[in-house]
């Protein structure tokens, strides 16, 4: 069962640091959002492989939106 990374806040997608198929380790930065002029990094909760990427740089995104899936 893939782990879903959902957005905790709305904002804009600033930097995507991984691609589909990448292996990631727990604590690795996956992407960085921009919220109220602050850069908010999201980290991998566990080791795994990125199986899906649902957001892209420049997207205006909403809270709760599905960003990535890690298996």
């Amino acid at each position: 069962m893939a782990t879903q990374i959902k957005l905790e806040t709305g904002g804009s997608m600033w930097k995507m640091l991984v691609r589909q198929g990448d292996d990631v380790t727990a604590g690795q930065e996956l992407f960085i959002m921009e919220v109220m002029k602050m850069e908010v990094p999201y980290e991998a909760p566990a080791d795994g492989k990125i199986v899906a990427v649902h957001i892209a740089e420049g997207d205006v995104v909403e809270e709760g939106q599905l960003a990535l899936e890690i298996d």
């Binding site: 905790e8 002029k37 602050m38 850069e39 908010v40």
Partner: protein, 531 residues
Amino acid sequence: MPNLCSIDQTPIKIIAMSWKDETNQIHERRRLAKLQGGADAIKAQHRKGRLTIRERVDALLDDGSFDEIGMGAGDAELDENGNLIEFSPANYVLGFGKVDGRRCIVGGEDFTLKGGSPSAAGQRKSVYTEELAVKMRMPLIRLHEGAGGSVGGAKKQSLSAPVFEPHRFKSVVQAMASVPVATAALGAVAGMPAGRLVAAHFSVMSRSTAQVLIAGPAVVQRAMGEKKTKEELGGADVHTRNGTVDNASEDETEALAQIRRFLGYMPANVWELAPVSACDDPVDRQEEALLEIVPRERRRAFDMRRALAMILDRDTFFEMGKGHGRSQITGLARMHGQPVGVWANDGRHLAGAMTANGAHKVRRFIEMCDTFHLPILSFVDEPGFMIGSQSEREATIRHGANAVLTAAMSRVPWATVMVRRSFGVAQAAHYGPDGYVLAWPSAETGPLPVEGGVAVAFHREIAQAEDPDAKRRELEEMLAAKQSPFPRAESFSVHELIDPRETRPMLCRWIERIQPLLPSLLGPTGFSVRP
């Protein structure tokens, strides 16, 4: 059957030699009371994935500790000989019990009888819940599922309440001012039970079974033409976000576990101190990662909860109100075994700025800590009140000033760690009177953050520059570089400038030092309660 016998053809009622008949009936009534609304009603309750009130009480309390009150309250129907035909128990279950060996009072509506809408005796038992908690000075737990009154009214016509009856909510307030009150919404909760649900220091609702409503879908549609389900009107997504309830749980069992956890940090009442437990987490534990947790890059947010986990006693942080006013983090924890209130900013939400909702959450939180004499640990990364038109429309300055004034009136010991930003009027809420103040090297202070301040203070220079954007950036960088942590220590405007890794040992020593102060704070607070 009454004892009848016949002597000389004349029936004479022989006076029973013992109280066996009545005693039997007492036991029979108790047996019937435990059947609640009957097998079908209980089955219907289970089919909806919900426990009955008696199952809830058993799941909440230590095994076998429930000591019920008012077992015989209810409506009895008797035949002409005085035999019991039917007994319908009061639809509110109440009693004493123990949570982790500590005494408490627990009560809740019985949804299998009249859908939890109060029966006459049920109403009396529910009112008595708070009276009992106040009198016995024990924590109160209410497990809610039920609606308020019905226009159909009670079966039997009875006298209305007298004009001199005490205010219905007086004991509710007295309870909140004197004992910890924890509540759970475990099914649909409306009307009076909804009012009592929120009259609590901690409330939790079960995501899978509960809704909280002033009025249900039928009433809403009739009055307003608005067609909404119970979940849309008052599900956990709505009420954890607006602050109606503090926490959501996956199901009923987790809701009850959260209540047990909350009570673990609380004293029995305002005349006793919170229970200090043995701490197996070393007081001198210094986490290397704290040295790097605040990024040097000023725009980069960090995970404050991770910092808290490294500083507080391991695995003791219990967050309350996470979904509401999310730029502020509030919860209970232990430090050196001492229960404490913990407040921090979450820079990942609205840069950590104090919103109207955040200020409301914080004000309630500080008042709860004051009521139960819990020392407050405050970890500041506050850029100031939220700005912009939405923030102005939400009366942020009014709610924010309330939070600041509440902190200024606080009587419990405060320790504040300046983790990063501490700006504007809003930052004043993060410091208690005579508080102990530690600053990390990453601390920044001032009337407003450099970025906003430069645009205001240097607007002429910026406007007149050849490249205004470049000029603004240059000024920002110049001023940011001037921010040094050392003058604060030199001028003794903080108690200590510290290595972030020392935070836990320093705060543990502070906890030791304040122990003699705590007993002198005991008793009710001057402000009673402002839920």
